[in-house]
Amino acid sequence: MTSPDGAALPPEEESTEPPDPELMALVKAARRGDRGSFAALHARHVRLVRGILMARGGTRDLDDRVQSVFASALEHVAELRDPAAFGGWLAQIARREATTRAGHATEELAVDEIAVVDRPRAEAEQLLARIRSLPMAYAEPLILRLVFGMTGPEVARELALSPAYVRVNLHRGMTKLRELLDLDGRDGRKGGT
């Protein structure tokens, strides 16, 4: 397996983490129809779903998309065979949702429109746009780490990925982002002079 820029990557699906017994219990109860357990799963994974959807579709209608992902998960959780794979399964639902929405996506809110309303948010949206321009294998862990504050081990555990894979992508993504921002800075200085 190679990274988006051609470098070798550690194997993606080799999580060395033992299954979380609490997660297993929650998923098993949710499969039996326990709504409280599903609510607990929602609380545990909502950052993950938001991060994946944000990486692929930006912030527009984010709440609606998150709601749609969890509604779909609630509908199909009884069909999930391996409780330990809940995070990866949920992430796949979110990626499918993002792809479906991208097919008939409305135009993105322009950053200039946001700036009129909320300057810090406009600055964040600009930075997010730079991260989203990276390959998705870098953008997803970067957004989960920088926007939602998840650590690398948390990302690896919730996505059922190997920590080595996540770690490499996180650092390579950060390197790429620095290059982009340096480039932006130089362009900004050139433009300003």
Binding site: R35, F38, Q67, A71, L74, R121, A124, L128, L146
Partner: protein
């Protein structure tokens, strides 16, 4: 592994200033701009109204039914207005008349009767003056108080000097002079 790498991976060690600045800027996107994140989809079983909500619904239905029944009862008891009542005819001009009083000053029942002739209320004309020689009681035309009244008129009010309401004595037999 550099300090920045460690901080990026698991936030251990001293924060890298550049990464910390990115976290600060991007952190505003973690929360929705206007409303807090919605909760998990509400289960369908919980969508049923609670017991309190059901009681309120019952009270509302009962109140509506009571209102409908009261309206129906009012409409059914109310006499249907005739055309004449719907368009009231002007009353015939009547001179104000003091209520008749007895000799003792008590008010007597009004004899006037409102006749509904085509909606116009007429007042019976006062009785004509009784012929001289008869009892000059202005209330002689009052309705008889007892059905067995025969002979001399009785005063239903037991006025002094007036014939009492007691059964009249049989008239004394006059000796036949013939």
């Amino acid at each position: 592994m550099s300090r920045a790498d460690e901080y990026l991976w698991d936030k251990s060690g001293a924060p890298d200033p550049e990464i910390a600045a990115l976290e600060r800027v991007l952190g505003v996107l973690a929360e929705p701009p206007e409303a807090p994140a919605r909760a998990a989809p509400a289960p369908k079983a919980e969508a049923r109204p609670s017991t309190g909500g059901r009681q309120v619904a019952y009270v509302a239905v009962a109140a509506t039914l009571a209102a409908v029944l009261a309206t129906l009862a009012y409409v059914s008891r109310r006499p249907s207005p005739t055309r004449a009542e719907a368009e009231p005819a002007p009353l015939a001009p009547v001179q104000p008349e003091p209520p008749p009083t007895s000799a003792a000053g008590r008010a007597l029942p009004d004899e006037s009767t409102g006749a509904r002739d085509g909606g116009a209320i007429t007042r019976r004309s006062p009785p004509s003056t009784p012929p001289s020689g008869s009892v000059k009681d202005p209330f002689a035309h009052a309705p008889p108080p007892a059905p067995a009244a025969t002979g001399a008129p009785k005063d239903p009010f037991g006025r002094p000097g007036a014939p009492s309401a007691a059964p009249p004595r049989a008239p004394a037999k006059e000796p036949k002079h013939r």
